[in-house]
């Protein structure tokens, strides 16, 4: 397989860490409280202004999930339990007993699972526009069954904000790479697109939790974030002037909420 293509903007060379037989690509910057950031189903291979903002105040560790970005897809990837064990092992390899965990979208789902399985590893949990719970009567739109134009319109409140992070769809290498990332997503969340057991397991989480949702999220219904907040007894904050892609559309506001929560829990 050819080398992983690079996005047009915001690419930085990742560090590598062997976790089991997977060579994880990750980026790490900053000092202070260790914060593990789990990305969503996209925006890979990039160090964004949002990351920079966080790294000004904390020790930010941003790995790419198996099958995403420059972390290869292992044969064993089949479910969220695989990722939970993977990140537990990665924290061991980094010699970090406890961390703050921040998860965005798909990464929010992974973060919630991690917190339910290993509650004692978390100093705090921040879920940004998280996926993973079922809200009856409110199915999420199927982004996989859409044109790329429609996907990007749905992700953002202001489509012009998408310009700098939009993949180069003219590049065949990039399109093939994204098909691979979508395959990783399918392995995890094609069916069902929620985890009913997670609802029951979330009561095990015993760190401070913040749920952040976007003012105009058209990807994941607001009711999912509300349900997380309800089940976790968490505070919920809303970021104005953004669609689902809040880390790109409102990096400062999103980062400020995360940093405030981390500081409070530290």
């Amino acid at each position: 397989m050819a080398a992983v293509p690079r996005p047009r903007h915001f690419y930085t060379e990742p560090e590598r860490l062997d976790v089991g037989e997977v060579r994880v690509a990750y980026r790490r910057k900053g000092e202070g409280q260790p914060v593990l950031y789990l990305h969503g189903n996209g925006f890979t291979r990039m160090w964004l202004p949002f990351h920079d903002k966080l790294a000004e105040s904390v020790d930010l560790i941003a790995p790419e999930h198996p099958g995403y970005g420059e972390t290869p897809m292992p044969d064993w990837l089949g479910g969220f339990d695989d990722l939970v064990l993977h990140y537990d092992e990665m924290l061991d390899r980094l010699e970090l007993d406890t961390v703050h965990v921040v998860g965005y979208s798909l990464g929010g789902w992974i973060a919630a699972e991690l917190a339910a399985f290993y509650p004692r590893r978390l100093r705090s949990l921040t879920l940004m526009c998280p996926a993973g719970l079922r809200v009856p009567g409110q199915p999420a739109p199927n982004l996989i069954a859409m044109t790329t134009e429609a996907v990007w319109e749905t992700l953002f409140e202001d489509p012009s904000a998408a310009e700098s992070v939009m993949p180069d769809y003219e590049s065949m290498e990039e399109v093939v790479h994204l098909y691979g990332e979508a395959t990783a997503f399918a392995r995890l969340a094609w069916n069902p697109q929620y985890d009913l057991a997670l609802e029951r397991r979330l009561r095990r989480v015993d760190c401070p939790v913040l749920v952040v949702r976007a003012e105009h999220d058209r990807v994941i219904p607001d009711a999912v974030a509300d349900r997380y907040a309800e089940l976790l007894g968490a505070r919920i904050e809303r970021v104005a002037g953004t669609g689902h892609a809040l880390a790109v559309e409102q990096p400062d506001a999103a980062a400020a909420l995360v940093l405030g929560h981390v500081a409070e829990a530290a």
């Binding site: 069954a145 065949m172 098909y179």
Partner: protein
Amino acid sequence: MSRLEFWLGQVAPYPQIPTGEEIESAWVTLPNSSYDPAVGRRLYGDYLEQLVLAERLGYDGVVVEEHHQSAYGTMPAPNLMAAAAVARTERIRVAVVGNSLPLQANPLRAAEEIAMLDVLSGGRIVAGLVRGTGMDYYSSPANPAWSLDRFWEGHDLIVRAWAEAGPFAWQGDHFHLPFVNPWPRPLQQPHPPVWLPGTGAVEMIERAAERRYPFMMVLAAHWFVKAAFDRYRQAAEECGYQAAPEQLACAVPVYVGSSEEAAHREARPHVEWLFRTGLKVPAYHWFPPGYMTKESFAQMLGTKAEYEMKDHWELTYDELVEQRYVIVGSRETVIERLTELSDDLGAGIVVGAGGHIGSMPHEQTVEGMQRMAEEVFPAFRG
């Protein structure tokens, strides 16, 4: 003389829908409020009639295909149509190009139904095992990311269940069955012939050649079918044998008219419906994630770009004829083109040979089948 087998192909389209330009897709999301069961009843009657007629006209076989949530083909359960065809015929072989194994929770069900059909029909069944189209993964709970694995495991289980006396235990990656012991067993021993239909993905072609299964290439341009068949022959040679023409089938709609001009005039709207409306499928429905390996996805994009291939629904009638997606013409033209399938491609089987095309009315289909049988078949039979 070139020799060819002729199999009638049947997908059971439902043509009374808006045109391809007016809809996002003829599959998955086309509102089923467009389906009128009273019209559907007449269509099923016509389609079944055509399958029965194929026997009287001396076709070598009939093929019924499985499609889901689609106006292109309204046969989600092709075994049911095969059962109806078997009940009304005596001798003709019936190929079920269906039983999409990865879509089913229990592959043994397909083994049972095919065995049942085989016994009912007196051993006339061909099992064309398939993965289902990409679209089917939006119409079922099956995960496209496990499609290839589940297909081959399901296949291995089914073939063993037919060929080997039970009970035995199956401990697979995707299926666990402590007692595999299907009743009935198929009449054809060790099992009904298996065909593997495909759209050209190399991994399917190679594995078909390894197992000596006939490979059936579906609705593609002449040069593309040739490349696929060359790959099959090469894979066969690597396995130490020479591929026979009976191992290479191509599905190509054929229409014989009373003259060149009449043939095109009569066939054109129905060929256009088939490709430009029935096959109006956006790329995101064709290729759900993981349905193809990254390698074959890259290869497909590369081929499409290199040869500037269009999607089915973008092809004009003239392009469809020129690139031999379809064969339309007078008796002489059709014989000439079919001879090329045999001589250039090395094909031994033509599926869709003069049968129903897209939105074609029943009477016209019957007349086309009759001309095909009377005027064309003799040129390929000793």
